[in-house]
């Protein structure tokens, strides 16, 4: 897995400033060792308040039944499944950053992967709530599991995409958690060994599993991370593919399309990166991590956003084209009468503006590197992606085949909204705890790229930059024995 040790100065440094290993530790760990700020308390308690409201909303749904929500015939899926798909989608960016970018050897992932993976885990936790409570009789949720039971045994239907979802989401959560935690072990050990108070030493000691930093352990750890990344890559693609199968394998017009899996995966990464931006921009400002989450990082993520946003845009247009090209009247009606027009037309155009039109502004370098603009865009994209799921679900359901079964206008009740706000509460409660008690940046990984991609170490390369190629190669070969850290890939 060795990356090229010499990096051109043309590549932006990943770590700004004149840092030593010790400073990296200090910069990242000092917030854990300090008392939480007032801002942290405010944010945390607001999140908990939202969470409590969500708990109450769910309580009402469990006690009084699914009638607490405005779901009706034919809109059997509404806000709940919209929120489910939205949250799962957000999770995808974390895995993309931690796994796919690791396989692609993108050095910039080191600055953001820890927080993005945390985001994944919390987002999947939020997502899972929706299908579970949508069951109505939530105490029966374990019926989805294939356990030997006294009803025959009657097994779940393994041919059903809804059951695939159970497996996909739970696997995704477990694997993400393992990946995240195995990366955290060395960093917990760092905190443990610096800890001044007894309690902190004890807790982080427990959390670090007795990690010592042995070379053999590191070697296995590297191998483990690489294989977990290799497993997570197809996994993350499969998860949203399976989520899209919930729709695509049905015969509902507007859902029954083969384009869904890639379209959903691209949309998931799109919204996930937007959420990563929202969180990172706040994190780097509040925790003073501008040296580690640089404008270069932000720009790279914006590039992913403009790419996936364009893929999503192509998918929207392809859907419209296919509706016309199929010559199926139901398909055409759904798209041209009830989706881009009709009572829910506004949501379609909101989605189009937020997801397809506005991200195109990221073609301008200046805007890609603007913190304020990125922050606004990240919110806009997430609104757009929420409406994408809403449009897909509701606009396909509210006009059934027979006009007699057309629905009245679907509006959520306060408890449906409350459930959604509650998951925001859950997400941010977890994220605030994470930001306070966990190393938000992978300390060991930053140290690993520091000597090649740190600003001060890049400056040392100035002399090499002016050399001719022959001269350069000769020198590197000659120096190798004396200077262990300077190596080239083809050495």
């Amino acid at each position: 897995m060795s990356l090229t040790k010499y990096e051109s100065q043309l590549r932006e440094p990943l770590v700004m400033g004149n840092k030593t290993y010790g400073q990296v530790t200090q910069d990242i760990v000092h917030t854990i060792e300090a008392k939480p700020t007032r801002l942290w308390y405010i944010g945390f308690y607001v999140s908990v308040a939202f969470l409590m409201f969500g708990v109450y909303s769910v309580y009402r749904e469990v006690v009084y039944g699914i009638g607490q929500w405005n779901l009706n015939r034919t809109i059997g899926w509404g806000w709940d499944i919209t929120n489910f798909v939205w949250w799962v989608g957000i999770g995808h960016a974390g895995t993309l950053i931690s796994a796919i970018l690791l396989l692609f050897r993108q050095g910039w992932r080191t600055g953001v992967n820890r927080a993005a993976e945390a985001m994944t885990i919390f987002a999947v936790m939020c997502a899972g709530q929706f299908p579970i409570f949508h069951m109505g009789r939530v105490w029966m949720a374990f019926f989805t599991l294939p356990y030997p039971n006294t009803r025959g045994p009657l097994w779940p239907n393994f041919n059903s995409p809804l059951l695939w979802d159970v497996f996909a989401i739970s696997t995704y959560f477990t694997v993400s958690l393992l990946f995240w935690y195995s990366g955290l072990l060395p960093d917990f050990a760092t905190i443990r060994d610096r800890a001044k108070t007894k309690l902190r030493k004890r807790l982080y000691g427990m959390a670090s599993f007795g990690w010592s930093g042995s070379t053999k352990h590191w070697q296995r750890h590297e191998s483990l991370s690489l294989i977990l990344a290799g497993l997570s890559t197809p996994l993350v693609l499969s998860v949203h593919t399976i989520v899209s199968f919930d729709f695509a394998t049905s015969v509902v017009p507007g859902w029954h399309t083969t384009i869904f899996p890639p379209y959903f995966v691209a949309g998931a990464i799109f919204s996930g990166f937007a959420m990563v931006q929202t969180l990172m921009l706040i994190l780097r400002k509040v925790m003073n991590l501008q040296d580690y989450i640089t404008l270069g990082h932000i720009e790279s993520m914006n590039k992913v956003i403009v790419l996936t946003g364009s893929i999503v845009g192509c998918a929207y247009l392809t859907e419209l084209f296919m509706a016309w090209y199929s010559q199926v009247p139901f398909e055409q009606d759904i798209f041209f009468k009830y989706r881009i027009a009709g009572p829910y037309g506004w949501s379609y155009w909101l989605m189009m503006t937020c997801n397809v039109v506005s991200p195109q502004l990221f073609w301008f370098r200046k805007l890609r590197r603007s913190v304020m603009f990125t922050f606004i865009m990240s919110i806009v994209v997430n609104i757009g992606m929420w409406f994408e799921r809403f449009v897909i679900i509701v606009s396909s359901l509210y006009r059934d085949y027979l006009p007699s079964s057309w629905s009245i206008y679907y509006r959520p009740t306060i408890w449906e909204i409350g459930f959604y706000l509650g998951t925001f509460g859950l997400f941010f409660t977890c994220f605030f705890l994470f930001a306070k008690y966990f190393p938000v940046i992978a300390i060991a990984e930053i140290k690993y790229v520091l000597k090649t991609s740190g600003e001060s170490f890049k400056n040392e390369m100035s002399a090499l930059e002016t050399k001719q190629v022959d001269e350069f190669i000769h020198e590197i070969h000659g120096d190798h024995r004396a200077e262990g850290s300077v190596k080239v890939a083809h050495h």
Partner: protein, 194 residues
Amino acid sequence: MALKKFVVGCFEDEKVLFPAVEKVRKAGYKFHDIYTPFPVHGLDKAMGLRDTSIHTAGFLFGMIGTTTAVTFMTWVFTKDWPLNIGGKPNFAFPAWIPIAFELTVLCSAVGMVLTFLYICQLAPSLKRHHFHPRATDDLFVMVFECTDKMNEDELKSFLANVGAQEINTQVAEEGWWIGKYGEDQELYKESNIA
């Protein structure tokens, strides 16, 4: 559990560490271990460690997952409770690919992480002797076990020559024990220490 005597040398820079590792090996000293704050690439090779085969565990566990998923679903739908779902075949293999895949990944990941924790002997509530608190911060800590065959002082001066900063001798427990960090523990009765 056994108390052993170790010679410890600390390095601050990998530029010094790598040549030192080479010299140490040439001189014939055997490493107990080198503790580093981050994965130093090439150090395992330089120390002469063999490659890890943890990925084999991942593959085997993955295969267990696939086999379990496919055989179980086959048994359920063809033997135990054949169900007519829209007249489709009972052995509906394409429809089982998602679950078979998920189970492969799940078993492989869980199995590999557990294997990793087992072979590295890592678990919550385990405690080890750490030779230097900065080994997880910014120091590369080279550790040698003292045996009858070698001269401790010679090794120490050798380490100083190759660029080690802090050099000392520590008597410590070699393996792990169950304990809490942040609390001093008496692992051995005084009389037992040789």
